[in-house]
Assembly symmetry: D3
Homo-oligomer: 219 residues x 6
């Protein structure tokens, strides 16, 4: 049994479905003797983090949760908008990962140019703003939104969403992407299948962040 | 028992001591049921990868090794010069990580600006060249070489090398680094202690690369 | 009498002193027939916006204030940390200015390289992060903090703070700055005197933002 | 009556029509008690600044004018090519604004990405060169020229030119522009209407420069 | 008779045809009294440098050749992939030019934006990687591959390849390129004709590198 | 005898001494059968191009000269301020080189980072502005001015100026420069000696530009 505190994977929206999806996404990294990977819902959060107000409100709630869980050895902000990343880092010296940063940087560790699949067109400008903050916008082959109106919750299950992901991923590969980042917390269910069909690496950002956290706390 | 092929951590120099250090560095990520993390020496390699010729020769040997080990699920080039990274990616679709890229990108997932500790002054220009290729040179707070003449093999053990690392790390923190990357494959023995004393994150690049590889193959 | 709604200059901290300083800073831009320039204190705010939590909390309060004042024709976030800039822009189509952005961009309209005078060393990394987001970090000659411990409230009055500003400004000019931005909302009292002594342009960020707002709403 | 010298808005071409348009553009910023905003024609200039020779010749004439008017408190080079900007700054310590720089920087104070409407395709490369000099080319969503052949003088009046501006602006908004800069000195007549129809900020560069000049001299 | 050692133009593939083409390309720079420009084939090389393994193998052979020819006054790596550039510079203090770098930098000495004509689509990502290393990717108007399947050997002769070059060049000029770089060592035969028809500068990279070498050794 | 028109090397200042220095600098590139390299003084120019007004005036005179010499096959603007570069390119399709651009780009063809030796501190900001325009400021190791007050005319002759160049060059090498550009048209007399003593490449910008021009017109 590990004496390390858990890696806390924080879902800032109130949807238990999404948290359950996160649990499935990271289950493969839960080992006997390894740190517990605990996925937790912020019940007071909105059903989904959609608006900028959602993001800013989630920031404070996430900080409260982190302060209430000093037992954790690392924190993962499991929302592609990374609410409260700067704030979290200002209140703990433990590692804090935002999944967009972790996903994108993991893609750059595998390929020269990366692409991003967004759930919706509207989130692309927000993503680009973060890539500029991160300083890696010059390496973006492109960002493509799913066609049709597919919810975050549905984006990782079923043939309809898979077809949309495949279409977006194929386009990104043509645009020069050597790796593709799934641009929300809910698409992980399709990752492996998509990777095999596209023949380029596909990154689930929550998995990428948890893997980094393991590296930070384990050794 | 995992049915996944091993994560192959390749030491391109012929020093078994260095490979043994790599084994210790990644031992904490070896779990029952997880993929085997296999550290391997290229016996034909030079005692250390020091010159550019060493790098270019190591490139071809590394490719030969990768081709002889199609059973692996991922490859880690465990030398900060990353010999043969482009070549390796041209001959396999499996994930290939160079430890400099993985270390630096992992630092950026934790902090705004990063610093690098080099074993020797002479390797700094080569590192900078790679940061430019990677496109993240704008985020470098600074790179500082160890004072005194400390070998790669000695850089992870003993009080003398620890003192030199602490001095370099302290300087980097003053230069604004929020995370520090150990700029060679041999310093991992001091990582945890240095991290606790500096109170900022310290990244061992081999551990960072293996953690990323786990994320890529496990789930 | 202008039929335009007021330009609302929002002080997110609870210090009426600071707001009074803002009023003095912008008094020269208040004309008969021109829009009212109204400086307002968020009473629920902290005495000063110092920590990242202050920033994130101020973000939501600022948004609430903006929503309660649809009569305004433009909004100025009069805190160098620009709390809630993205949020404010997501809830109104009217012009919203953050004073850091406005100050820095106004400096770039006057000179090739700019410098920033910070009240305290600790705020410099946060400022740099914003310059990267803004994409103009390459034009920064340098940022220098005031020596001694001078509060935001004191930074614009008295010989002691003037001497500290002059020292910082002189250093920035030597570093190549062709214009200097006062890096907090409280230094405006010294602007004109400093400009005359340094012989390079000195920008008060609140004045710069209000000037831009005038340009946006007047014509 | 202000004791401040006038803000001198310099039209480097000989067209009094264009100067008259500048007067209308900035009339709203002329207040009782405020500095006089004086728009002036360089009679020896070409009818329009079209070629690079026009630009270089205008540079010297503009400098002569500035030297003959030491009474001014600030200078605005009211031509999108900004003839003589470096020269003007070398001969006076007073603020000198070029309208391209001022317009673009004002757009960045309001939005993440900006677009530019050019009168003619041919001027786009020259504009891009200046954006690189200014260091903000990475924030350009796009630059689109007016369709049809519309002169500078006509670009701010009439339904035909408005329709062309609306078409260009709509395209820029689709390309991600959060603010649009009118890329010549003559389009200001359509600014407000275009802003209301596009629902994003539209910047007239002369107005932006004069607003900045007010901020520099007033307080 | 010059006492200077020869400028050694190294063809890392085994094709004597290609070397003969290099000889023709640089014949115009061979003067009585000037340094000998000697084009040499690495006989052990592959028929063409196509894969990354070819590049890495060529790197070592090129270094061996350079070491065997200390009489040379400068070295030109006459392959657009520049095999062994870093290695060569680590073993000699004499000037070493890679033709991609030399070609692209020569284009930037003539125009604001440059374009590249690639023999094949597949080589574009490798070229882009090098432009990033070189730090000038922001000045690339575009890179366009020849249509049809034209070999390196054929790319400089005959109407079919000329037509393909003209089509690519025309496209690049429309994309804003003010100069065009021929993106392989074999197209020089068409350079002058293409330049006259496109009315923008066309750069043969081998000629550009030899010209630079002349400048480095002659005076 | 070459049927090519001369390469016209234009000295925009009126000093015949400087022009004579240019002739010496490029004499080594004058071959039987090669194009005439003709160095010409603009007699109406100022004794030296020192102020921005000198630059802007020189721009027009240079253009006049170019128009009066359509027989030339290429033009070199032999002043580090490159007066009239954009203008010259707008009036001729023949190659036009500015020596700063040519020198700096030639340095980048030889080394990862470059340094510049300036005659005087005051010219450094102007040089930096041009490096940003050229887009290669990120590759500058540093720029160092000669100590003492050495004129352009004296900078290429005598032990005093050589000592100052050696000191500046040594400093630049320590700052990481792999090649050094002589930052004015008059230092060429010391180039070879400095190169041998520093053991890194030293670039005379006029020689670099003429070499590029040879490559453009010869073949």
């Amino acid at each position: 049994m590990s004496t390390l505190g858990p890696i806390l994977v924080i879902n800032p929206n109130s949807s238990e479905n999404v948290t359950e999806g996160l649990r499935e996404a990271v289950a493969g990294m839960q080992f006997p003797g390894g740190p517990v990977i605990e996925c937790i819902t912020i019940k007071e959060g909105p059903p989904g983090v959609v608006t900028q107000r959602h993001v800013d409100e989630a920031s404070l709630r996430t900080a409260d949760l982190i302060e209430s869980r000093p037992d954790a050895s690392a924190y993962v902000l499991a929302c592609y908008s990374q609410p409260g990343l700067d704030l979290a880092r200002s209140i703990t010296v433990k590692p804090v990962y935002g999944i967009q940063d972790a996903g994108v940087l993991s893609a750059l560790a595998l390929a020269d140019l990366f692409g991003v699949i967004a759930v919706a067109e509207a989130s692309i400008p927000r993503h680009l703003r973060n890539l500029r903050r991160l300083g890696v916008d010059g390496r973006l082959a492109g960002e493509v939104a799913l066609e049709g109106s597919i919810s975050v919750a549905d984006s990782g299950h079923g043939e309809e969403s898979y077809a949309a992901l495949l279409k977006a991923g194929t386009k990104l590969r043509q645009m020069g992407a050597g790796a593709v980042v799934l641009g929300c917390a809910g698409m992980s269910g399709h990752r492996r299948r998509l990777e095999e069909e596209l023949r380029i690496r596909v990154i689930d950002p929550t998995q990428a962040a948890v893997a980094m956290a393991l590296g930070a706390v384990l050794v």
